[in-house]
Symmetry: C2
Subunit: 293 residues, 2 copies
Amino acid sequence: MKITPESASIGFIGLGVMGRSMAANLMKTGYQLHVHTRTRDKGQALIEAGAQWHDSPASLARVCDAIITIVGMPEDVESVYLGKDGLIANSRPRTLLIDMTTSSPALAKRIFETGQEKELACLDAPVSGGDIGARNAKLSIMVGGEEDAFNTALPLFETMGANCVRQGPAGSGQHTKMANQIAIASGMLGVCEAMAYAKQAGLDQETVLKSIGSGAAGSWSLSNLAPRMIAGDFAPGFYVKHFIKDLRIAIESAKDLGLEAPGLELAIRMYEKLAAEGGENLGTQALYRLYQG
Amino acid sequence: MKITPESASIGFIGLGVMGRSMAANLMKTGYQLHVHTRTRDKGQALIEAGAQWHDSPASLARVCDAIITIVGMPEDVESVYLGKDGLIANSRPRTLLIDMTTSSPALAKRIFETGQEKELACLDAPVSGGDIGARNAKLSIMVGGEEDAFNTALPLFETMGANCVRQGPAGSGQHTKMANQIAIASGMLGVCEAMAYAKQAGLDQETVLKSIGSGAAGSWSLSNLAPRMIAGDFAPGFYVKHFIKDLRIAIESAKDLGLEAPGLELAIRMYEKLAAEGGENLGTQALYRLYQG
């Protein structure tokens, strides 16, 4: 199958902040979209732009050649894919199913295997790049699954992302995303502690960034989130509660792999403390609050 | 005082890997150097290029208008500055003393105050950028001390560095360097754990870097040190033993400031474990070895 706007009907399930922008980019490129999401209101703008609404994943599945999902938690992924009214039970053979939720690598493998029995090609393809990356079609898309399926999906990926890489067999996309989140987690501790130290030492934090921002301490978090910490701006770019979800998957997955990850364990304890203190709807840079005494 | 190659005699104490390159850059710009270091052999090339050798800091101090030091440990700084044969006891009034060693902020303040009593201007000015930054005069120089002294020293700094920033009063340069090392320490845990996770999950680590290297997980360490981890190249860019020295100063200083820094504490425990297992002469990226099982 070759996917083009003329030849393929595309399904899109999950129209949160990320999904809405990704779906809009597909429509801009000319794809005819079938959409479903838990709260219909979130699809209103897309429906008005011509997307066709479906009341259930099952209804959508029956008419699509390729279906993209980006929902909330691994439980949601499980129900959308493996439930009685889900995609695997209701898609036509040879439909391409692409889960872009950040979810469990083990679940991704299970979906792939269950899909195979029904002649369905399944890819796990979580993203990084946030709401801005989604809007500007600059996402990094990390893909697990068979090479043929990846090549078939590539035109869709390239409509949503700027860095689309097949990482290996089913589950590899999720594993790569976990590696990404693991690197971020401890890195954020370093940025928070450096900024808290600077403040406590009586330094001007912005001047400190001029010295340390571009050398061996440099990072995306230091450049992009430290200025928000300094300004007391804890508004969500990426929600604490979503990061905790990801880190829990990472911890679980590391345990399955027999890997000790003390930095990751420390980071999740800190983030859970932040959430317990009411920070779950703040942005990840709010970890800095724990250091403010 | 205005420092120019024509008007000022410059002293340079400490000709290790960093000091040698920094001193060479001063000579290239035309400065007449007086040099001293613990092991005379290390000064041989500079002496042959015209630097004047002194057998002690005291001898050097008597003939210099500005003196730069970059020695090993805070104890070495203390002895070079505050010892009987040291710089403060033997420099002429109004000499500019610049310590570029990464050392204790509290010691920097003590040197500044002791210097003041003798009409000596003291700056703490640790660097980041490593041996390559030193060679190419691209160091980031973080300076603490009085503004006049900073302005006087600027021509020297600009001969050695590309990013020379006054951070505040005495000790502020060292505090800024500590913030830098604190950010690096936890960040390195994140990079090691991400790479170890990727390997354990059966991913191709270099392909993982293609997905995660330039997004929110991106950092100098991920770009520059993860490839060395993957290649099993643990040769020192920056020595584990020196990083441990820095982190101990940071821990001590954080304690003085009443700051809890669990990421920093975890990092130093890990690095001490690595050193105890024989890794102290490896590069900081060798922390990855602890995760290789």
